[in-house]
């Protein structure tokens, strides 16, 4: 168990700045997720913490100890990779025992057996102990790989997209399992992924990374409901947030060629009090647009269903007003059809306003 601290961490590969002056504190016992698209610098960050890469600048602390000069073995972190790196001709037991047999540890056979038994119980793989790893399914292999990390009781777990090679069903199950595992172990998890749903469902806190820079750190609730900029707003949440270019005119926001004219209220007025520009970006999540057959009181706009994505539990309606297309969530009970007319009711109190030039939250 340990906290992790990164100070002004920078890593370049030739001209490319993979990690750009990063400051980060992961608390002891926290499930921390580093989220970003391919090439954001997530894996490099993880490798810097593990000691598999040397930073150009900056400091890495594990458990308040400055570890820049320590090699990976001494840092006492465990790495779980995207591709399960198990010894193929060894049994599950041998794979789990392997890290314990290291000369650094000097454990007795009894102690080793006890640890292996504990870990297999937590991960529900007792029945697999004597199987060779080549005969395991993908999910079983990833459990063993996680088991091999746990068995050492390291200070920190570093996980690099461990679920991305599993099929959708298994990924969903493993998400819940990892969340529960973290709860049971209480250790520090540092988890890297490009999949926002993994970050949202598992993380205590999430850092959104792009082009080597952290854009926002917060709880899933904070990054979803108070995104700091347009990138975070777009990256978090599915279906993706609607973003409209709007012109501010008196107490209204004008979208398109006056296709939508939204009246703004107290909350937005106070937000815009010190905002002197004429334009802004209005962000509104699809679930914050209510769809009805009858016109509602405020900000209710007539629109046609352009196309529809039926998800079973809900329908994603792609609605059209002249040349503006946006998404709204509707209940399947509404039985919407392509080409039909509905009213899109925009709940401005749930909207997000961004500066057109800086893309930052107003």
């Amino acid at each position: 168990m340990a906290d992790v601290k990164l100070v002004s961490l920078t890593k370049t590969f030739g001209d490319i700045i993979a990690v750009d002056d990063m400051d980060l504190e992961v608390r002891d016992g926290e499930f921390f997720v580093l989220l970003g698209p391919t090439g954001a610098g997530k894996t490099t960050t993880l490798r810097l913490i593990a000691g598999l890469e040397k930073p150009n600048r900056g400091e890495v602390y594990i458990d308040n100890i400055f570890v820049n000069d320590f090699n990976p073995a001494v840092r006492d972190v465990a790495f779980v990779f995207q591709y399960y790196t198990l010894y193929p001709n060894y049994t599950v037991r041998q794979n789990l025992e392997f890290p314990l047999r290291s000369n650094l540890r000097k454990l007795s056979t009894e102690e080793i057996n006890k640890k292996v038994a504990e870990v297999t119980k937590v991960l529900h793989i007792e029945h697999l102990l004597d199987r060779e790893t080549v005969n395991l399914s993908g999910g079983e292999m990833q459990r063993v790989a996680i088991g091999r990390a746990i068995v050492r009781t390291p200070k920190v777990f570093l996980m690099d997209e461990p679920l991305s090679n599993l099929d959708a069903k298994l990924r969903e199950e493993m998400r819940a399992e990892l969340t529960r595992l973290h709860f049971d172990l209480g250790s520090t998890f540092f988890y890297v992924t490009h999949d926002q749903i993994e970050a949202m469902t598992m993380g205590d806190r999430v850092a959104v990374l792009n082009e080597g820079k952290i854009l926002q750190i917060g709880t899933p609730d904070e990054i979803y409901n108070l995104p700091k900029d347009v990138f975070v707003a777009r990256f978090i949440g599915t279906p993706v947030i609607n973003l409209f270019d709007a012109i501010i005119e008196k107490d209204t926001l004008i979208i398109g060629k006056r296709d939508m004219v939204c009246s703004i209220f107290e909350k937005q007025c106070s937000l815009l009090k010190n905002y002197n520009k004429k334009n802004l970006i209005l962000g509104i999540r699809p679930e914050d647009i209510d769809v009805s057959r009858e016109k509602q009181k405020d900000n209710s706009f007539k629109s046609t269903v352009y196309f529809k994505q039926s998800m079973g539990v809900e329908d994603i309606l792609n609605l059209k007003i002249n040349s503006i297309i946006f998404k709204a969530i509707a209940s399947p009970k509404l039985q919407t059809k392509v080409g039909e007319t509905f009213y899109a009711n925009i709940n401005l109190d749930r909207s997000h306003l961004f500066d057109t030039e800086t893309n930052k939250r107003i």
């Binding site: 819940a176 749903i197 979803y224 409901n225 949440g237 993706v240 679930e287 539990v313 994603i316 297309i325």
Partner: protein
């Protein structure tokens, strides 16, 4: 524009039957998705339609013409494997024009066709740029342009967006669906991802081990799965399954006894009681299937609710998934984002019995009448 008909298609590879007696009517302008796990026969089916494979038995008709023995090049359908592979040395224009160049169209005609495709995809302003100058989304649009510029009778797509980042996949799903609405060509799309199938398909064909399991609209397949395989494959988070058996309570009324580790019976609507009696399922082992959104969760005790504890809680922003333990089984509940019990906290769950599915445990088939 094309109507595609498959009649009793069988395709074998040695002793393996990849596609087993498959019949399908794909309507003109339809977006049909072939969905199933690897090895279910979906790609083989697509390859038979394209002409890359010849079926061992059965017939394939395109616009009423028997094309079973025709070569791929004679069928006028576009097969797209990957959408994102562009030629790096060519401009967007060059990439889109490429299939037409190989077909020796004249320059003026090519320009016309490329412009039309660019118009639909709203990429006219980037036609002179090279792939490395383009954003990911624009690269995808160029790749799509290359596929649609030939204006084939039908599109056949084999997991075209499977290897992209999650976020990007979501965008591409909407983009592909929009494109289909705009150009209206018959599309057959193969995937193992139920989200792709649900969000794009007009109809979905669920396959397993070469055999068709169910054909229907996304809504039909979601709300009325014909068997356990389909029920399990569709939906995220997936459907909950609880072993049960219909028994008579003290007043002689039919109730469902939940098995084996839960000592609870739940009452069932008359409609379902009637089905159980009519189909002679009384006292048989059944499986109750409940979607996570059809489980109600309460922090207070309520009538007909079962007492349980929170095992895991997952937030997504727009909803939460709360895992609870019912006996030894995990049951997943979809709730509003404001519902935030703690791990280990006592909660009560109820089941919306009007929306459940019930399966015979032995053969896995749904006993429900079609909704």
């Amino acid at each position: 524009m094309a109507e595609i008909v498959l009649r009793n298609i069988v395709k074998r590879f040695g002793s393996l039957i990849a596609v087993n007696d498959l019949s399908l009517d794909i309507a003109d302008r339809e977006f049909l998705v072939l969905l199933g796990p690897s090895g279910c026969g979906k790609t083989t089916t697509l390859r038979c339609i394209s002409g890359l494979e010849t079926p061992d038995e059965g017939k394939i008709l395109i616009d009423e013409e028997d094309v079973t023995l025709k070569r791929a090049s004679q069928r006028d359908i576009a097969f797209v494997f990957q959408l994102y592979a562009l030629y790096p040395h060519l401009t967007a224009y060059g990439n889109i024009a490429f299939p037409l160049l190989t077909q020796r169209f004249d320059k003026k005609k090519i320009k016309e066709e490329v412009n039309k495709a660019a118009e639909i995809l709203q990429i006219k302003h980037i036609l002179n740029k090279k792939p490395k100058e383009l954003s990911g989304g624009d690269m995808q649009r160029v790749a799509l342009g290359r596929a649609i510029v030939r204006r084939p009778k039908a599109f056949l797509l084999d997991e075209p967006i499977g290897t992209l980042d999650a976020k990007f996949r979501e965008e591409m799903r909407a983009e592909l669906k929009k494109l289909h609405v705009d150009i209206g060509a018959t599309t057959v799309y193969v995937t193992h991802d139920q989200v792709e199938a649900m969000s794009m398909g007009d109809r979905i064909v669920v396959m397993n081990l070469g055999v068709l399991q169910q054909v229907g609209t996304p809504y039909e397949i979601y709300t009325d799965p014909k068997n356990l395989f389909v029920a399990n494959f569709i939906g995220s988070p997936g459907m909950n399954f609880v072993n049960c058996r219909p028994i008579r309570d003290s007043s002689g009324k039919l109730v469902l006894s939940l098995l084996p580790s839960i000592d609870t019976s739940i009452s069932i609507p008359e409609e379902i009681q009637k089905i159980i009696v009519d189909k002679n399922e009384e006292k048989k082992d059944l499986i109750l299937g409940v979607r996570p959104e059809d489980v109600m969760l309460s922090l207070k005790k309520e009538e007909n609710y079962i007492k349980t504890k929170v095992f895991v809680i997952e937030t997504t922003g727009s909803y939460n998934i709360i895992d609870i333990k019912l006996g030894n089984e995990i049951v997943r509940v979809r709730t509003l984002p404001t519902m935030m019990p703690k791990i280990g906290e006592t909660v009560y769950i109820g089941i919306d019995m009007k929306r459940v599915s019930i399966f015979n445990k032995e053969d896995g088939n749904s006993i429900m009448n079609s909704k």
